[in-house]
């Protein structure tokens, strides 16, 4: 395996300037078609299996599509009515602001916790590091449905181990304390659940980035008399920045669209105070059978998400593109 490692080590640092086919002119035309042939399966799959449903969703958003229309296959165009209905509902704006805020806080928390753990792993002795890694892997491997159930049970008002433990520790006011009495505390519990599920992936990714930095660079910084914080700023940070961009993009995506966990915990309650856009979309679409309005909400979500992530998409495409041209 050492051979693999040696061969791979320069990966992070060497820009593959030589990794290119010779001048295109000298090659015959088959060479020019090759990339397209190789890309074809991926493009076809993405277009048919993701692109087409997305286009359909856009189409549904300007139609009235209730159960009746869905079953009979009748097409009823209503123009932008679904959009005006959604956008003129004050509840929608409350929910939209809540969703954006929740996503922002959650992503920030995920990145921060994961970064701290990644740095910690780098400095731990091997035995403890493996313990931490195993616990992270376990948390990551346990299926989402199972974790969600366990969290519900841990936070149960009467029989949850959390309240029982807090009571034992002397905080007797937590006997029968309801973690779901307000939207904020409900969202905090959901946030903890998501953190627990999402941090391992991000932490591992960042950790990989951190140990990709050659030791000499740290040693050099040490000789120059830089403290831990300066070393981090000067050496680690530049190494993990591109990774951060990617995991931020992915986290925003996942947290913004997250449905299962939010619904499972309290169905967006109490009083709709933990309802996010994904929940609203579900309430309209499935619970209310108004698939047109639901598609309109989903489209608005898509646009919002595009607006939020545009910068990341740009950054990501540019770095990737820059690597070769």
């Amino acid at each position: 395996m050492t051979a693999t490692k040696d061969a791979l080590l320069p990966a992070g640092t060497t820009p593959p300037a030589s990794a290119r086919v010779g001048p295109a002119k000298r090659r015959w035309s088959a060479e020019r078609i090759t990339p397209y042939v190789l890309l074809l399966p991926a493009v076809a799959a993405v277009l048919v299996l993701l692109g087409w449903p997305t286009v359909q969703m856009l189409g549904i958003s300007v139609r009235q599509l209730d159960l009746r229309e869905l079953v009979t296959g009748k097409t009823v165009w209503v123009g932008l009515k679904n959009y005006t209905d959604v956008l003129t509902d004050p509840e929608f704006w409350t929910v939209a602001v809540r969703t954006v805020g929740f996503t922002a806080l959650l992503v920030a928390a995920t990145l921060l916790v994961a970064l701290l753990i990644a740095v910690l792993m780098r400095h731990l002795n091997p035995v403890l590091r493996i313990c931490v890694q195993v616990s992270l892997v376990l948390a990551w491997a346990v299926p989402v449905i199972a974790t969600t159930t366990v969290f519900q049970w841990i936070f149960d008002q009467q029989y949850g181990i959390l309240n029982k433990t807090l009571d034992r520790l002397g905080f007797h006011s937590f006997i029968g304390y309801s973690w779901f009495s307000t939207g904020t505390s409900t969202l905090v519990v959901i946030g903890l659940l998501v953190l627990w599920q999402a941090v391992p992936f991000v932490a591992f990714t960042l950790y990989a980035g951190l140990i990709g930095v050659p030791r000499e660079q740290y040693e050099a910084a040490g000789i120059d008399g830089a403290g831990p914080w300066q070393t981090f700023r000067a050496v680690s940070w530049p190494a993990i920045r591109p990774i951060l961009t990617m995991v931020t993009f992915l986290s925003v995506l996942w947290d913004f669209n997250m449905f299962g966990q939010v619904w499972a915990i309290r169905q967006g309650g109490p009083d709709g105070a933990s309802t996010t856009l994904a929940i609203l979309q579900y309430l309209k679409g499935i619970a209310g059978s108004h698939f047109g309005s639901a598609a309109a909400i989903a489209t608005i979500m898509l646009v919002l998400l595009l607006a939020v992530t545009a910068r990341y998409v740009q950054l990501l495409v540019r770095t990737k593109d820059g690597e070769i041209t």
């Binding site: 074809l40 399966p41 076809a44 799959a45 277009l47 048919v48 299996l49 087409w52 209730d66 159960l67 009746r68 869905l70 079953v71 009979t72 519900q152 149960d156 008002q157 009467q158 029989y159 029968g176 309801s178 779901f180 009495s181 169905q267 967006g268 309650g269 109490p270 009083d271 709709g272 309802t275 309430l283 499935i286 619970a287 209310g288 059978s289």
Partner: protein, 430 residues
């Protein structure tokens, strides 16, 4: 467009196949179920509805009577049923007979996705249909749903504890109920884990009884539309009585959750609870913890404010429907005819349900808990027959939020009922 799509996806499938990693051939089984040439009748019932022995015998008898027809019987689970039904109805070969919750039936009926069974009511034993369910299967004068079975809530109690506390007969009015709670508390209250009545904050089925008993209702019909009436005096009185019960009992049940989370019967099985409001079918759950509890358990109807009467109860249950797109409508009706016959309805009653198409409840009444239900279900009522009511239950139920807000003291009576009224109007109003 469709053909283009098929081609494109076909190409993608070929790419996958040549890459050596396509899933094992599914092309053949695609036609295997779901209808074929009308030789397969697909039936979907919900989990826990009918005992296995009943459905096995039923399918066997049906197949014997219809040579060449196979019954494809599938049990569905509650989780995600809304999505499953929605998409199944939109498929080319929907199931032929489906069990649909009675509160969901109007939603499907109003969308024109169910077959009109008005002409078959007579042959399906229509004269004996359970009144509370019958109404939920009707929409604009036509019949779309055949009553299947129902259940209602009653007060399940520990006979031995009542005896020890000196309560000689089950409470027959609200006052007597509160008195019984006080007596139980006096007798067993030294045990901090003891609860005279386990009542979680969101048992809205119990709340319905109290609201109706006080002359209120959830909503009233205004022509074809509905207007919620949760801010009426009756509704407020019902909600207030709920709080009185919770306070009198000092129940430690969660105020922010319903009777299923955690399941109340499991807690009753722990032996520290004297009463809970539930259905007879919950008792086996308690017996899992303590097998001896069944013998010590009795039941009485939910008391009324008027002495000697019992409160109206919510009739929960299911209807059987035939999707309008079914390819086997005649076979489906034959199947319904068999299922609604006295023979199978009796089996259903023996299994502890109020039968939907038979007035004969003797099999149910053999069980002490069932006997109470058989009696109270005659006084059974339903939620507003609004096509939008389904959304209340499959989405965010304002009644549950109202209960939690009032019981935890977050809102006062007027505020809680007014907010819930607005929220409910937003769903079913107009």
């Amino acid at each position: 467009m469709k053909r283009w799509l098929k081609l494109a996806a076909g190409a993608a499938a070929i790419t996958l196949a040549t890459a050596g990693c396509a899933g094992s051939g599914g092309g053949d089984d695609a036609s295997g179920s779901g209808g074929g040439q009308g030789s397969t009748l697909t039936v979907w019932l919900m989990t826990g509805s009918a005992p296995d022995s009943l459905t096995t015998a039923l399918d066997k008898e049906f197949e014997a009577a219809h040579p060449g027809v196979k019954v494809d019987f599938q049990i569905q689970q509650w989780n995600g049923i809304q999505q499953k039904l929605t998409t199944a109805l939109a498929s080319d070969t929907p199931p032929d007979v489906i069990e649909v919750g009675n509160t969901q039936t109007p939603a499907f009926a109003s969308q024109g996705v169910l077959a009109d069974l008005s002409g078959d009511v007579q042959s399906l034993n229509g004269a004996q249909w359970l009144a509370g369910l019958k109404a939920s299967g009707e929409y604009e004068g036509k019949t779309y749903g055949v009553p299947f079975y129902a259940a209602s809530r009653e007060v399940v109690y520990r006979k031995d504890m009542f005896e020890q506390a000196g309560i000689t007969k089950p409470p027959a009015s609200n006052q007597e109920w509160l008195d019984a709670i006080a007596k139980l508390k006096a007798k067993f209250g030294s045990d901090p884990e003891f609860q005279p009545l386990y009542l979680p904050g969101q048992n809205w089925y119990a709340l319905l009884s109290f609201i109706w008993d006080n002359g209120g209702d959830i909503a009233k019909a205004e022509g074809p539309n509905f207007k919620s009436t949760l801010d009426s005096a009756g509704a407020k009185a019902g909600l207030d009585f709920y709080k009185q019960l919770v306070a009198a009992s000092g129940t430690t049940a969660p105020k922010d959750n319903d009777e299923a989370n955690p399941q109340q019967a499991g807690i009753y099985g722990g032996g520290k609870v004297a009463m809970f409001v539930g259905t007879p079918s919950e008792l086996p759950t308690a017996a899992e913890t303590d097998p001896g509890i069944t013998a010590k358990t009795g039941a009485f109807p939910i008391p009324s404010r008027t002495a000697g009467k019992s409160a109206p109860v919510f009739l929960g249950g299911s209807n059987l429907v035939v999707p309008v797109n079914s390819k086997n409508t005649d076979l489906a009706k034959d199947y319904l005819k068999l299922l609604t016959s006295a023979k199978y309805m009796t089996q259903l009653a023996a299994a502890g349900a109020v039968p939907g198409t038979s007035t004969d409840v003797s099999a149910l009444s053999k069980d002490p808990l069932g006997a109470v239900m058989a009696q109270t279900s005659k006084n059974g009522r339903a939620v507003p027959a609004s096509p939008k009511w389904g959304e209340v239950e499959s989405g965010q139920n304002p009644l549950k939020d109202m209960l939690t807000a009032y019981l935890t003291g977050k809102k006062n009576l007027d505020q809680a009922t007014a907010d819930a009224n607005t929220a409910l109007d937003k769903i079913i109003g107009g």
